[in-house]
Every structure is written in C-alpha cells, then in structure tokens.
Amino acid sequence: MTNEPLAQLKVEGLTVTPRLGENALRVTVIGAVEMRDPGEVLTPYWTGLDEEARRRGIRRIELDVKDLNYMNSSGILTLVRWITRAKAHQAADAYQLVVYYDGNVTWQRTSIPTLAKLAPGVVVPTEING
C-alpha cells in the first residue's frame, strides 16, 4: 500500500484539497461549481477519492464545503453519484461521508441535508455556522 499524498484538483474557480488524517480523509472544497459540465472533472475525481479511501481502509471522509459559495444542479448531480456509489459498498469497505456546511449559505443549507436523505446511514450533514 502506498501512502502518497492525494492529488489536489484545481479547475475553473474551484479548488479541492484532500488531506489524509489519522482516522479520516478530509476534503476541503473552495470556490464555486458553475461550469457547464462539472461531471467531466468532478465525477472521476470523487470516484478516485472513493477508491483511495477504500484501498486505505478509511472509514470516514469529511467533505468540507463551507467555502464553496455556489454549486449548480449539475454539480449537485456529481455528489448524488458519489453518494449512490458510497451507499452501495459492502460493510467491509464502507465509510461514512460527513459533510460540513455553513447554515448561513442558502444553497448549502438546503442542498446538503437533502442530499443526506439519499443515504441516511452513510451521509452525515453537519452544520457549522460562520
């Protein structure tokens, strides 16, 4: 098993930085998702994180979107695909996806809890204001 750092993604006003902690993979998302087809870059990127987390036996991914000021519905779909994939994992390589969001940002307060309803046992929406 290699322990190489996970690659950062920088594309069209968006930066995604994964950082491996002791018991969790922390993924910070900054900027905005408003490109025409975010699935072209985000779906393979989320899939890569999913595969890496399972390969390393990580049981918790913390997705921090507090500084993501906007995400269009095509971007939302990339998260739906990730959640659908995570929900299908067997218990042996399942992980929890904890999503930190800012309750003062309207799209986050409405979209993140809705996404969590797709997989209540897998996605944990966690509101952090400010």
Binding site: E34, N72, S73, V80, T84, T106, T110, S111, T114, L115
Partner: protein
C-alpha cells in the same frame, strides 16, 4: 406607445447564450435583491433560480446567435424571474414533459426520485427546475408562444 411604469425593483437583461455570462448575472441578481429586499436568503434563492433557468436556456436555446432575456420584477407580494429564449420543437416537448413530471408529486419526493434516476443515467442532470421548486420555494410557470419559451419562477414575499 405608452409602457406601464416600471417598479424600481425591476431588472431586464438580454444577451447571447454564452455560459460564461451566467455566473456574472447570478452574482449581480443576488447583490441587487440583497439591497432591494433586505433579505439575504430570498436574494440567494432568486439568484439561484435565475442561474438554473439561464443554464437551461443556454443548453437548449435554438441558435448560437440568438438571444435570451432575463427579467426580474418585484410586485407587492411576489418576485417573478422570467427567462425567455427560442427553442426547437423537440426541446419544447421535453420541457412540457419535464413540467408535468416535476408537478406530479410532493416536491421533496420528486426531487429525491429525480436524483436517484439521474445517478443511474449518463447526461444532463435535469435537476434544475425541481431544485428551484423545492430548495428555493418558488412556483414555476411555463409559457410557450410558437418557438418562444418563457419560464417563470415566482417567489412569494412575506407581507411586512
């Protein structure tokens, strides 16, 4: 010709269907209504709806050289966001079916079902319109005049 007087809370923009303009319009609409309504949440909901409607219009506008128009009008008890563009007949038919689908159930259930269905298929998300209804709390109206399509997202305002 006499035109009815415009309210001070009225914005109209007309531009070519270019994706790169959408984020500028979204930010402008949010700022404008933050001032006009003094309600950050409503302003962000209105700008999100404007952005989703413009994304649809750019994706489905019939001609690269055509124009789309966004107008936002605040009346006494509602804000009407309208995006207008020319579209091909097959896109208009798709839109009619989409409208029937998103109004066929309780918004949260429709939204979740559409998410699950979209995750299983390739291509466009088609989540934008139901997102406007469920997440932004607007009602949608579709007006079709031959090849001209207008979609209105109508936001009720609390009476002060």
């Amino acid at each position: 010709m006499n035109r009815p007087p415009l309210s001070s809370d009225y914005v109209e923009m007309r531009f070519g269907p270019r994706w790169t303009y959408i984020s500028s319009v979204r930010r402008f609409v949010a700022s404008f209504f933050m001032i006009g309504l003094a309600d950050k949440e409503r302003a962000e909901q209105i700008s999100m709806a404007a952005s989703e409607l413009l994304e649809n219009a750019v994706k489905y506008a019939s001609e690269e050289e055509g124009y789309l128009k966004i107008s936002i009008a605040k009346a006494a008890n509602e804000v009407d966001v309208c995006v207008k563009n020319e579209a091909e007949e097959h896109h208009i038919n798709t839109l009619r079916r989409e409208f029937a689908l998103i109004h066929a159930g309780e918004p949260e259930q429709v939204y979740l079902k559409k998410m699950e269905a979209a995750a299983m298929t390739e291509g466009q998300s088609r989540l934008g319109l139901i997102r406007i209804i469920y997440e932004a709390g607007a009602r949608l109206r579709l007006d079709i005049n031959e090849s001209e399509v207008s979609i209105h997202a109508i936001f009720p305002l609390e009476q002060s």
